[in-house]
Amino acid sequence: MMNSNRKVQSTNPKKVRPKNLNLFTIRMPINALVSILHRVTGCALFLALPLLLVTFQLSISSASKFQLVQDLMHSPIAKLIVLGLAWSFFHHFFAGIRHLAMDVHWATTLIKARYTSKVVFVLGGLATLLLAISWVF
């Protein structure tokens, strides 16, 4: 992410270096994108836990509440939320597996890492798409 600063660094260490932390102007290689999204999705999943618990509680408490959950799930907003969370989970899941693989030194060269990044995105998108097709429509 900080590659672009290299030229500035090598000249004068005392000089005030430009700080560039604007996420929208930093050029993000695909590996960085997988990584930051792994973080974002992890936080999103954490924030979604109460929603998950409430839904589970409703779904097991009685037949009519179970029906209520099913009805709520038909609204477009609910579908959007569920699909968003599902994608978050899938991305975090596949990126997490990739992370574990790299921890045991599998696919750690740059070329392979770029390739597995693409695999993570494709699998995450595909899983979400399958869910959308089988459930939403």
Partner: protein
């Protein structure tokens, strides 16, 4: 060797390894969950209870949730360390995260016990 890393003598390694082991446990649970949903295709309320009730599945769910609590704690802690430089505010947020995770754990335990 691996197990010695889990002792209090190496807090950083312990956190690192814990996050990996819990991640792995949750991944296994998720795959089993997916397979069960595909095989049993629960659609009615009764299906859903039959799906959720087996003692071993409730136990697995509890183990999943214990893993999740520990995993999310370590993960969110790292994120807050990175993005909240103000120590006082960070401490408050960290305490809130711990509190929330304990409440969730008690909550799911009660749900599973009364299922």
């Amino acid at each position: 060797m691996l197990l010695s890393l889990l002792t209090k003598r190496y807090p950083g390694m312990r956190a690192w390894l814990t996050q990996r082991l819990t991640g792995l446990l949750m991944a296994i649970y998720s795959v089993v969950l997916l397979i069960r949903v595909l095989v049993l295709t629960p659609s009615s309320y009764d299906d859903w209870l039959a799906f959720s009730r087996p003692w071993w599945w409730r136990l697995a769910t509890l183990i999943f949730w214990v893993s999740l609590s520990s995993h999310a704690w370590l993960g969110v802690r790292d994120v807050l360390k990175d993005y909240v430089p103000n120590v006082k505010i960070r401490m408050v947020l960290l305490k809130l995260v711990v509190l929330a995770l304990w409440v969730y754990l008690v909550w799911i335990t009660l749900l599973l016990c009364n299922l």
